[in-house]
Symmetry: C2
Subunit: 131 residues, 2 copies
DNA sequence: GCAACTGTCATAGTGTCCTATGACAGACGA
DNA sequence: TCGTCTGTCATAGGACACTATGACAGTTGC
């Protein structure tokens, strides 16, 4: 099974699912046009309410990650964002800054940090190439 | 004024303050041993309840960022974390992965992403050197 | 057309997060 | 010692987030 909910973390179930779908898309486990599991069976498998899954899918649609067609299902969109390059970079900066600040408090130095970043970029890239 | 609360974002006030103190520490605006603004005056300046500031400071203390001495005040700790290097790297991976996944969905490619990371690292480093 | 599937919406209950008020205890200086 | 500063704790109210239930609407295949 591709997705899993951890009820011990305190993080809302629907957000866990959102993250996992985003992760699956970024790592190539899901590709543009792929259909996502439909709401009711997935809810049953994850032991959550169907509306919890529906909320996750709604959030993903608002983020432009998936497209949902009532009566048919939900599908992964191709990655075209509606934002211009400067806007996209600005959105990214927020998350990068958080990581940089955390690195400072964890006393991870520049070279270690960069090595970690490259390692993760390589990891995602390798998974996309060999699905 | 060093800190500011934006009531429009929906993000809890105390978390905004936590982020700003962490940011200030990482950028060198606050240094080890510096005393933070005391709770009541800061609360008044930020137009929040004093317990909201207290909660932020409590959170920062639990993160090991500051040290609070009842009756005296709150002070920035030196950055020694209680974690071993592998543990610290693992904690960082979570945030790095989030940024990498977001970069994928925003279609920011590897070289642009790395450039942004280096730019931010440089930025924080320069601020630490010239306070 | 019917049955079984898809997602959607309105509603409600439960919990918890966030904030605020008031009273308390330690530290310091006049 | 007294006043005033520091942070702390207990409590409570209000808002909102999260989840759940039930009824609804579009799509597909028999």
């Amino acid at each position: 099974m591709l997705f899993h909910i951890d009820f011990k973390t305190g993080k809302p179930a629907y957000l866990q699912l959102v993250d996992q779908v985003r992760y699956a898309a970024a790592s190539g486990a899901l590709r543009a046009g792929d259909s996502l599991p439909s709401i009711r069976p997935l809810a049953e498998e994850l032991r959550v309410n169907r509306n919890t899954v529906a909320k996750a899918y709604a959030e993903l649609e608002s983020q432009g990650v998936i497209e949902t067609i009532p009566g048919k299902g939900c599908f992964l969109k191709d990655g075209n964002t509606p934002f211009t390059k400067p806007v996209r970079q600005k959105l990214l900066l927020k998350e990068i800054d958080e990581a940089v600040v955390t690195a400072h408090h964890l006393q991870v130095d520049r070279s270690d940090f960069l090595a970690l970043v490259k390692e993760r970029l390589d990891y995602f890239e390798s998974k996309k190439e060999r699905p």
